[in-house]
Each structure stands twice: as structure tokens, then as C-alpha cells.
Symmetry: C2
Subunit: 414 residues, 2 copies
Amino acid sequence: MTLQPKRSVSDLALFGGTPLFTEPKHVGQLYLPEWSRFESSFQGIFDRGYFTNHGPLVRQLEERLAGYLGVRHAVCMVNGTVALMVAAKALDLKGEVIVPAFTFIATAQALLWAGLDPVFCDVDPVTHTMTAERVAPLITDKTSAILGVHLWGRPCDVLPLESLARDRGLALFFDAAHAAGCSMGNRMIGGFGHMEIFSMHATKALSAGEGGFVTTDDDRLADRLRTVRNFHLSETFVKVPLRINAKMSEAQAALGLLGLESLPAISAANKVLYDAYVRCLSPLDGLSPLLFDEHEANNYQYMVVEVDKNLCGYTRDQVVRLLHAEGILARRYFTPGAHRIPPFCDRYPRFVEALPVTDGLSERLMQLPLGQGVSSGDVEKVGDLLSFLRERREILEGDSRLDGDVLSHPRGTE
Amino acid sequence: MTLQPKRSVSDLALFGGTPLFTEPKHVGQLYLPEWSRFESSFQGIFDRGYFTNHGPLVRQLEERLAGYLGVRHAVCMVNGTVALMVAAKALDLKGEVIVPAFTFIATAQALLWAGLDPVFCDVDPVTHTMTAERVAPLITDKTSAILGVHLWGRPCDVLPLESLARDRGLALFFDAAHAAGCSMGNRMIGGFGHMEIFSMHATKALSAGEGGFVTTDDDRLADRLRTVRNFHLSETFVKVPLRINAKMSEAQAALGLLGLESLPAISAANKVLYDAYVRCLSPLDGLSPLLFDEHEANNYQYMVVEVDKNLCGYTRDQVVRLLHAEGILARRYFTPGAHRIPPFCDRYPRFVEALPVTDGLSERLMQLPLGQGVSSGDVEKVGDLLSFLRERREILEGDSRLDGDVLSHPRGTE
């Protein structure tokens, strides 16, 4: 049930009015296949009695992913975090890895698990990603690799980073957790650097519930990935520094195969919502939607908005608080950056005050709901609400009820 | 289709005869629930649209596991290896951990991922497990914990290890990957030490396809486990050294719940097969089945046989080679011990020649097929074959065809 738009500030749910949405609207995709499609695929697993360990569905998914992305190898893993850990071991990295702090915390956690020290790099204020120019001064004789992040599915500074890594003899890999179905220069993300690491989490446009995979064009690295992925001696292809159980189960692969089939339709549905948001937001100064290069493929899985208090009258946290009360479960992403989160802030205090762009973005960005549970009508209502808030900004300015705790994660789907 | 028993050595499949089983018989359980039981449970996941992140099925499984094992907390994880890594971080271990080398390699791998050095301890030749007496001399000022292994589901030297750990101020945890449904002193395994770590792999009596869980009676440690398990800030209960994505998905939990319901029936079915094997083997000198304490609960998931060449005329590897040819996919377990496998043998060369009991067991033990795909009739045929081999041992002695490569892992289900 959805109610009438707000007519006065007392209608705002934060002030006791009826929430705009009684059924909360989430960020994150959760585009599930229909049960009927899943059922036949899943029943096959029971018929075969083959539940895990690179079963037929995992092999099929790996082939299809590689074909779709135009790379020689896609190696499936149990989830994206463990996939990053496996990638780091397969690359046999040592010492320091240069990585942005403006990323999901798992990027940095995976490096620590792999026995590596993250060196946090600030990002570009417009693209939100790490550039070769910012990376170069951080390279020392301890650096073994650069780990770029294709944030929001927008490719980071790929070609200059490739040159830099080549010139300095460093490994280069990319956290492409956001970037399944995205392209750069009309080449799909997946074929850049030495490896790219994808997530197939439930909140992603390409989902397997939980899951991940690593792509590479290098046969030798693919053998290393497959060896690290499986603890068992019988799956030894080459010598590696350490192994783990990172196997994707057949149940995950069944979901992943359906997810891959649905990815074009999901991206198209996302685009409709994204365009609706952009239309709603464009008249609203100080609420700027993240833009994508329309000449590239994109999954449009994130609706990111930058909130400029000077122009719109509210801080990002105030907007998020107002939205949460209305049942619009916007998220502050990433707040704070990895450099300010334990154990990183304790282990590497030199970065805490060193990343001004990251800190600024951490204070200004929010994600709005977009995915299976959101309709174009919902987007319009969110847009109307934001427009209403913007119009009433002078009435609300200084209202202490706007300030207070903001839930960073209103419902656990991550 | 199963053929007639062997009448002469030329009937042996290794020498060109027809294999006893055209459909190979595997070790490992793979007791799957019927599709119909799984279907309704799984459909609920789709109805709820809640795929991961401590969903309702995971919470239900945790409650039921804790109730069944009589512990305060069972914390579900994506798999047993990652569960061990999480446990080590939740215990905040440093330096060295004393652990048997006679265990599945993942036990030692998990310690390395957690930044710890395994100190390999030899085992008792009868129980195959580590004793407090063998552990004590290995304790140094670098030791932070003892990691016991309940091999084959038989409890290791639990109470003396508890005293020793308490006296020396060490953490004590147990790899209980084999021991779901087993008891010690009529207390279920799960409540000993600071934590116990279980596997719910497809080959286990309690299966979730892939999966694992950690049990503890300590509320503080449970909070730490739950914090390490989830990379996401919103799931922070306490400060921990490092976090990861170790989440069990709802699909896994659906299987795990059905698996837990089935565990008594599976253990009973295993016991029937186990007893049949023991009846077949007892007249055969030099082929000794592993015995269990019949006063304790047991899952009978492993049919372990010790091969004594002096008594039966064949080495363990020769028996396994003969069995493999017949479609009986026996396994050498664990061959070699963790101390002789990279990277451990390279990193810790001092242990390579230091574990004579482990080395001896690694040469003499085999696992025979037992699980859903095996019938009592199959067991009798395996018994008849072993009996036949034993009778013909003088004819075959010195036959070079018995020697050659042995597949360590005839089919990938691990």
C-alpha cells in the first residue's frame, strides 16, 4: 500500500507521518529467477548426486562466463571475498598492494588474509576510482601489485594502470565485484590486467545467491587459480603458496547460470529505473546522480547520488535519515572508507587522515533503492519526496530532528 | 550390474577381468534428501527472496544444531575450512598452534591462512589421534593454542588436552569435521574445548552440500565468531582482528536442516554397512577394521581398514590398486600426512622426518566405500574379493602388475 504524497513537513514519517512505503524498498538487486526455472535445474543436481567440487553446472557456468566476457578462463569461487584471497595467492604476491580505500571493505580484508599489506590510495573525485597518476607515487620496493576497483561498474583507469604495472613490473588485478556486464572501450570488463575478480552476491545484477569468479586470459594463472581453489591434492595443477576450499557448489552454479541468462534483461530493467531517477533528480540542485558512459555496456545496478548540502540544504546523512523513515532504505556507501575501519585504521594509521577525496565522498554519497522490488512508480514517489524535501529546505534548516543515528545497513542482505 | 565372484586371479580386473562393479562404488556419504523434501524447503527461499546473510533457515539450523549437540551456540559457515580460519581469528591466536599432521590437509591450511604456524604432532598408533602426552613437549613460549582432531569421528584425547590447555593457559579447539553425531562420555562432541569446528561437506554424514559450523558454550566467543564471519560493519558485535565473508547461504541451510533430520537414519544405515564389513573382515588377518566404542554415539561415516603386509601379503597400495580396478574406489587416507605436503614440507622441514607413527598410518590405512550408493550386498562382494585376494596371496606375491600408480582421488567429490 502506498499513500498520498507529502503536503506538509509534518507528513514526513521522521516527524510522525505515515511512511511513504509500508513495505520497505531496498538497495541491491535480489533479482531471483522464477522458481519454475530454478526447479528443473536444481532437480538435475539431485538426479546426478553431484553437489560440489567443480560439478557439471560449475563447469558449464565457467564456460558461459568466459564466452560472455570474451576471456579464456572464468574460474568460479564460493564468494567474491574468498575469490580475491585466492587471486592474491595465485599471483604469489608479497609485501604491499596499492588499493583504493573507497571500496567495499572486503577488498582490503582479502589482502590481509592473503598476508599482504594494503597501501590505500585516494581516488578521483569525479570517477570515484583510483588513477595511475595517484598510484605511481605510492610504489615502493615493497610493492608487488596494484588492485584497481571498478566502482559502481564504471571501469577504473585501466589502460594507464596497465602501462604503469608493465613499466614497474607489478601484478595488476581488478576488483570487478560491481562490474559484471560492463564494458570499457567496448571490451567487456573481465579481460583487463592479469586477473579480474567478480562477485555473484544476491545484491548483484549477476547473482548466484552467494558466489564469485575470477577471469584471466593467462593459462598459467588459470591453473594456479584452480589449484589454490581446491585444498585437495588431486586437483594440483601447479605449485602454489597456499590452498583453500573456495569451491562453488552446484546449487550456486544453478542460480548463476539462470542469473547469466537474465543479466541482459536485469540490466535493461535497471536502466529504466536509473533513467527514471535521473529524470526526477535532474531538476534538483545538490542531488546529483552518478552518470555512466552511454556508449558502454552497463548493468546499472547502483543508483548513486551525491548530496551537496550547500546546494540542496541537507547533509547526506539527513537525507538518508528522512528516507529511512519513509521506508526507502537508502545506504551510505562507503561510509567510512576502508582506511578508517578496524583493523586497518589501527594497523595503518598513516592513511587515516591521508585520503581527503575518499573522506569527502564517504560523507556525500548515497545509494537509492533499485532492483526487483522497485517499480518506476516507486522511483517517481522517491523523486517527488526528494523534490518536496528540497522545496521545504528552508523550513527544515536547523531542525534538530534531522540529526541522529543513521542505520548503515537497514536490512541484512549483503 | 554385478558379476560373478572371482574364481582365478586372471578374473581380477587389474589383469583384464571384468570389474566387480560397473558403476563404481565411492567412499563418502552423499546421502541426499529426496527431491520432494528439499523442494518445499527451497521454494520458501524464493518466496521470501532472502538468499543469504543469516537468513531464517540459517538461524533455524543454528538453533537446531545447538539443541542437538547440547551447546549454547552453533555458528554456521560457508564451509569447514573457512570455519577453521574464522575460529582461529575469533580466538585471536598468534604464533604457533600444535596440531596433528594426520588429518585432512585443510586443517593445516586454515592455520596458515590465519597467519599461524602449525607445529605438527605425531599421533597414537591405536587411536590415530593426538594425545596430551605427545603435545606437552611441543609447547613453547610461541604456542597459543592446541588444535585437536577427532579423526574418523572418534574423540581425541579430550579431557587430558583440556587439563593441559588450562594448565598452560592455551586455547584449545577441535577439528570435528568427522564427528557430527558422535559422543564422548555420552556428551556430544561440540561442547569440548573453547570451540569445535564441523564440516557439512557432501561426503559427510551431516551434509549441506558444502558447509560448516562452529560450536561454543562461550557467549563472548560466539559474538567473536559472528563478527569475523561477516565482513559487513552492521554485523559488528565485538572488535576482532580480521573479518571475512564466511556466510552460509539459505540454500545450504535448507540442505543442512534436512541433513540434520536424516542424521540418525544415516548413522544407522552406516552402522549396518560397517557391521557387515567387520563381519567380512574379521576372518582376514592383516585387514583390520577400525573399531568404535559401541557405548558412544557414532556416525560410522568412515570405513577405515589397516592393511598389514606381513599378515595379508599385500601392501595397502597394492590392495587399493586391485580394488580400484574392480570399481571399488577405496581411498588412501591421509597419504601423505600434512607434514609432507607443500607448502608445509618446504616451510617446516623439521617435521618431515619427525612423525614416524603418522608416516606408518599413511602407508597402511585405506577407506572403503560406505554411504548412500553402497548396499550390504555390495559390502559382501567387497568382502568376498578381499577374502579371495587373501587366499591367493602366495600366487600373486611378487607379481609386478600389482605395483604402479594409485589414484589418490578417483572421483572429485571432496
